[in-house]
Amino acid sequence: MAGEKLSASAYDFSAEAWNEVSGLQVKMVGTADMSVRDVLGEFLGQVHRRALGDHVAEATLDLRQLAFMNSACLKELAVWIGDIQELPAAEQYRIVLHSSPEIFWQRRSLDALSRLASELVTVRV
């Protein structure tokens, strides 16, 4: 159902996704490390299915309260981006990664992710 909020949490990590007029909003808070990788992967799968079902043009991922993300969880984001790239052009949607300048790892990590698909992924500070 389009209006239902998606959510996931484990240890010091939580994530939510919901629809707004501007597109799909996704927010992650806390720490995404090896303990939550599977939870994150499942959550991103749900987000992708929601985005496809609702034919959104854009999903915004708010990471401004995400203190840390490990490489395995970054890989889950790479999988999500890859899933979008594999779609026919008409079904693809953009991802905006909303970062905090105060969380220093984000600049380099999100830059690397955006290089996977510069036509689809933008980083907003």
Partner: protein, 161 residues
């Protein structure tokens, strides 16, 4: 020739339990902040400690590992060194050697990191990004030494460059 270490020296012998990795990363980060004002450097060191410890949590025999973090400011220029040692399996040592072979040959760490993200995205069994992340995002030099079944990974970066 021995060098005098001025500044920080942490030597942590630990059970590399997955749920303790982030706790240890935060400890390293807080300790280094007492000595270094460069928050970007502190973040890079903390990320490196995290990725090294997760490797130990996944591959160390009995999850026993030793992490050493030093800030050496002798000689006028600072260097941060992280050293992670743990016993592991011959299969993992072989895998580490393969990874280091690829890392040592690479001229553009960021391009390799992005390529590995793309390549490993369809391999659910491995992340395979941790060491490439240390090289690219951490701006560290990396080295591997093996003594019997003990693998030691050393990551190093300059302070104030």
């Amino acid at each position: 020739m021995s060098s005098t270490v001025c500044g920080l020296r942490l030597q942590l012998r630990l059970d590399a339990d997955p749920v303790l990795v982030s706790v240890t990363r935060r400890f390293v980060e807080e300790a280094l902040k007492r000595f270094v004002s460069d928050r970007d450097l502190v973040s890079r060191v903390a990320m490196t400690a995290h990725e090294l410890l997760e490797n130990a949590a996944k591959y160390a025999r009995d999850r026993n590992a030793e992490l050493t973090v030093t800030l050496d400011t002798s000689g006028g220029k600072g260097v941060v060194t992280l050293r992670l040692s743990n016993d592991t399996t011959p299969a993992h040592i072989d895998r580490l050697r393969q990874i280091f072979s690829e890392l040592d040959a690479c001229r553009d760490p960021l391009s390799l990191y992005v390529e590995l993200m793309r390549r490993n995205a369809r391999r659910p069994d491995v992340s395979g990004l941790g060491l490439a992340r240390i090289l690219a995002e951490g701006e560290m030099t990396l080295g591997l030494s093996v003594d019997g079944r003990t693998a030691t990974i050393v990551a190093r970066t300059s302070v104030g460059t």
